[in-house]
């Protein structure tokens, strides 16, 4: 009965309904996509670091687990001392060159021989290893996204690089240049931003990490599993603020549109509310009706938001293959809850006003 009345009301003003639904859908889609993009970005780059194959990461004192934001690089000699530690099989230095801070994109300056020993070697889709200082390796994802072919030149860091090979993705970065070239670009000598340490057996990881820590007490020594657990978007302060701000904006959009929509609705329906009151409808009855209507709008909006974010995700991945968007069930639930709570709050004041209308005045309303 009441549901029928609510449905009739919602259908009576299709544009108002469509705009309200759209606002909630944008809210839900925005929350899911922003969170999905950030998670995707972080998880994906963490996975690539894991893909290098090291058991322990050694970085300069006070450095962040966010690569590229690190302190002054360490002397190469540190690496030699690491190799002497028991259970250490191989150590490779990498010098980071930041390509773009915005998407955590870091170019690895690598020493081929030791990098191959830690990582098990690149798998080449085309071309082969570096042959000249300004040679570059790109991974297949980057190559596909930017239509890169072996032999062409890439303009990066205000230099021209020749693409020497296209490698299977998943080994740290998407772009690799020779270590010496990276040193030239950074203006340093015999320095590394990080040492990737591989043990003879992953089981020795903790022992080796302790030994390294004893040797280099001030350095950051992270077993890979600790690194992976740190590398979540919750741990990234800037990203966290960014996500919170985007969520706040999204919720505000939903809240305000539902508020305005319900507010104009009760003004338009003043007489009808008066009629319900003359029939003996209580304040609760009237508030409940309006909140139910808002819930219906929110529910349809949430479903539309789910659909929209799936479509948007597909579009984003088609346009930017290097990105990844993770739409988790958790965040589906949070986004829906936020949208629902925001809508109910938005509808609450209009509902309260409707409930408090004087029945005689409401019936006389033109």
């Amino acid at each position: 009965m009441v549901n029928r009345m609510i449905l009739a009301n919602v259908l009576h003003r299709p544009i108002r309904t469509a705009v309200s639904v759209l606002a909630v859908a944008i809210e839900v889609g925005m929350v899911m996509l922003v969170v999905g993009l950030c998670h995707g970005l972080v998880n994906e780059s963490a996975k690539r670091v894991e893909g290098v194959g090291a058991d322990i990461l050694v970085q300069p004192p006070q450095s962040s687990f966010l690569f590229g934001l690190s302190q002054a690089p360490m002397p190469m000699k540190v690496g030699e001392r690491l190799e002497e530690i028991p259970h250490v099989l191989a150590v490779t230095p990498v010098l980071f060159v930041v390509n773009s801070v915005a998407n955590l994109s870091v170019i690895y300056g690598v020493d081929m021989t030791s990098f191959d020993r830690v990582s098990g070697g690149f798998v080449y889709h085309a071309g082969g290893p570096f042959q000249a200082p300004y040679d570059i390796l790109v991974d297949d994802v980057y190559a596909k996204a930017n239509r890169v072919k072996v032999g062409q030149t890439l303009n990066l860091l205000s230099h021209e690089f020749r693409v020497a090979g296209i490698v299977e993705h998943g080994k740290g970065a998407r772009l690799f240049i020779p270590l010496a070239t990276a040193e030239d670009l950074q203006g340093v000598q015999d320095r590394a931003s990080i040492f990737f340490v591989k043990c003879t057996d992953p089981a020795y990881g903790d022992d080796a990490a302790q030994a390294i820590h004893k040797l280099l007490p001030k350095h950051s020594v992270l077993p890979i599993k600790d690194y992976l657990s740190l590398m979540t978007s919750n741990n990234l302060p800037g990203l966290n603020y960014f996500i919170s701000a985007m969520i706040a904006i999204a919720v505000a959009i939903g809240f305000l549109v539902i508020f305005l929509s319900m507010y104009t609705t009760i003004t338009e329906r003043t007489r009808e509310i008066g009629i319900l009151k003359s029939l003996g409808a209580s304040k609760r009855y009237i508030i409940a009706n309006i909140l139910r209507e808002a819930t219906l709008l929110a529910a349809v909006g949430i479903l539309a938001g789910y659909g929209g974010s799936l479509i948007a995700r597909r579009a984003i991945l088609a346009a930017f293959p290097t990105l990844s968007v993770e739409l988790t069930w958790d965040w589906r639930f949070y986004a829906a809850s936020l949208a629902l709570i925001g809508s109910l709050l938005g509808a609450f004041y209009p509902a309260l006003r409707a409930a408090q209308l004087d029945p005689v005045d409401a019936l006389a309303y033109e």
Partner: protein, 223 residues
């Protein structure tokens, strides 16, 4: 017998800014259960206000009001709402149907608000007496004024209210439709012993009632 409506010294004063506008200046009224009473009087004499007070839509400023054993003194808004829900049926000059609902649902929403469940026998009896069984699936815009008013009457009496309060129910209708509506009010009063208080401007309309009350300037001048 105890009257179903009894008022003594009933006053209603509206305050507009700093000016007091007395709409009712001391109304003494007794209505017995089952009576059909017509209230007539010039415009602005307080007829509607009296109806609103008796139906609990607004509170009296002064005086005693006792309706079906409910003393209006000390009644809160919520109490008056509950009273209205269970004891009163309203019919207005402007029909006041919900435009998005069919005639059927306009009638049954009253039972939903009252919360005592839908009684199909009562529904059948009321709608067939009012001659609207064929029109139940129509929305208000697809009904004539007379039909809309009959739906409104059905809605007002579906929950078997103690009192039917009608404010110029024929005010918007032509003679023919007015006569139909008045006949139905008469019929309701006879078959269900429905107590009715009906405001009208029209003396012919008032003639269908058992009793005519004349008002002027917020008082009853003849009974």
């Amino acid at each position: 017998m105890e009257p179903i409506i009894s008022t003594k010294g009933l006053k209603k004063i509206f305050r507009i800014g700093k000016v007091d506008v007395p709409a009712l200046r001391g109304v003494d009224l007794r209505v017995q259960e089952g009576e059909f009473v017509a209230v007539v009087g010039p415009s602005g004499c307080g007829k509607s206000t009296l109806l609103h007070v008796l139906g609990g839509l607004t509170s009296p400023t002064e005086g005693h009001v006792l309706v079906d054993g409910n003393d209006f003194r000390g009644m809160s808004d919520a109490d008056r709402t509950r009273f209205r829900r269970h004891k009163i049926g309203f019919v207005f000059q402007r029909y006041n149907l919900l435009p998005t609902l069919t005639a059927r649902h306009n009638i049954s929403i009253a039972t939903h608000i009252q919360g005592n469940g839908f009684n199909p026998h009562r529904f059948q009896a009321v709608t067939s007496m009012l001659g609207i069984t064929e029109k139940l699936e129509h929305r208000p815009y697809a009904l004539s004024g007379g039909e809309q008013q009959r739906v409104a009457i059905a809605r007002a009496v579906i929950c078997e209210p103690k009192i039917l309060l009608a404010d110029e129910p024929t005010g918007n209708l032509d003679t023919e439709n007015s006569q139909i509506v008045l006949d139905m009010m008469r019929e309701l009063n006879r078959t269900f012993r429905q107590t009715i208080l009906m405001i009208t401007h029209n003396l012919e309309a008032a003639a269908v009632a058992d009793r005519i009350i004349r008002m002027r300037d917020g008082r009853i001048i003849s009974d």
